[in-house]
Amino acid sequence: MTETKEIKFNEETLELVQRIIKRYPEGKQKSALLPLLHLAQAEFDGWLSAPTMDYVASLLNILPIEVYEVASFYSMYNLKPVGKCVIEVCRTSSCWLMGAEDIIKYLENKLSIKAGETTEDGMFSIKTVECLGSCGTAPMMMCGSQFHEKLSFEKVDNILDKLKSDDKRKTYFDAVVVEDY
């Protein structure tokens, strides 16, 4: 999938990169690493390949190993290919009390994959995650930057249908702010 695409940000993104670097003290450009990895993941197929990480290292003038060790520490960075919609389901305390395990099981059955896997058509991945700060509207899951809360099986069905009908990759940047309190 990725081999044909050149790993390089477009001009607009490169400008943004420079603006992000300027947020930190001079000479401390490494501080921009986390935001840049988010940008890179969104741009290059939703995951961080070695060439992608090397590219980010070159932008910040740091060693590739400094990028690898960071990328492998944080759970939001995917180190292997993922589907267009990564469904991140919370499995921690309050969500668990309110039925998160049933939601995970339901998703696994419906998509015929296990958590941590991707459907054959490359559409969906399921990822279990820890508390996303949405415990009052449990159980919940997130896709892209969108929180889906107070889940029921019907609600999950509807969300999956909607996600399927739109072929675009979901990233953390496509924030649609809908507050459900």
């Binding site: 003290p25 305390s93 949405s134 449990a138």
Partner: protein
Amino acid sequence: MGKKILLKHDHVSGIQGYEVYRKMGGYTSVERALKNMTPNEVTEEVKKSGLRGRGGAGFPTGLKWSFMAKPKGVKRYLVCNADESEPGTFKDRYLMSRIPHLLIEGMIASSYALGANTAYIYIRGEFFYIARILENAINEAYANGWLGKNILDSNYSLDLFVHTGAGAYICGEETALLESLEGKRGNPRIKPPFPAVKGAWDCPTVVNNVETIAAVVPIINDGGEAYSKVGIGKSTGTKLISASGHINKPGVYEIEMGITVEDFIYSDEYCGGILNGKKLKAVVAGGSSVPILPADLILKTANGKPRLMSYESLADGGFTTGTMLGSGGFIVMDETTSIVKNLWNFTRFYHHESCGQCSPCREGTAWMEKVLHKILDGQGSLTDIDLLWEIQRKIEGNTICPLGEAAAWPVASAIRHFKSEFEEYVKNPSSINDVKHYFEVNKLEMA
């Protein structure tokens, strides 16, 4: 209705935007501070208010500010902790998404007090959409002259940036947060030196929680003394409580410190009682890290007094019969909840989130998870319960950061208050209903 200070205007239509926020009295604290007060006077007001850190530890904010080292020619920083990843806590998210300008206003006034000319809001990566909301608010603040160079002709300048994390509970710990801000793995630093002396990029830095910084606004507007009169004893002011679990009305509530726990759980103004008319079994009152208490001990202290929502009352009885206010993540469990399974879930969480630097935490959390797994798999013995107790004791006090304790306390308190439930699972494994289903879902993590 209880007293509201931070969320006074949270339901005003359009309050997310600058115009409405300003019309409702927004940014007056910045005017007051920059025009009429010296930085030290602002700190003094915060001291007088009795405000204590809302991130979990409850350390007096004014005192923390006064520790800020001020070597000549060295930059100072204020970093807002918006990592909000303590399970059961979602108040900062509510505050930031509803009234983003309140946080921005608090950041300006607090940075002025600390002499910081650059400040950051470190927000967990999963809150990307809130980062957008904050960035919009920051742009509005710049456009209206509240940020940037020479604010209100006061000669004071401030730049404010949002920094997104990338998914790691440990980055809520203030020194791990600073490492993460510097673009590194979130490994907590050994203290001392404390951040107030050596923080972000080795410069003096104060890290404060979102709610703490927001509370600075009313403290400047109405005076520290007025704030200190709200609440009870050394628990001054109001506290945002995130209520979740088996209750009728989960959500974020601003309470005046000192209301009773009973009132909080059962009154219609707050949680509205237990879901489906069930009975209360246990409460984790301050986020997953604090000791769990059974119904009788959360409603009343060991000597029979009504338990109050305050730092002191929740801690009454120490860890034998008390708990902590912590972050205010109030998780309620009804009579059907399995305490052992819940503990397994917590322990799995801490094992997953341990940064791995110290052996007691890295190995201990893994070991506790395994032992709990064994018990829940129907393979446990009575000695396993003693083993769990021993492991948690060996973690406590032997680690670089408090995540070790955060992992140990839930185990200690569950055994202390619900030992018979562990024993029942060991003696009569068939009582562990649904357990197979439970592990099928979660097995992946064990592999």
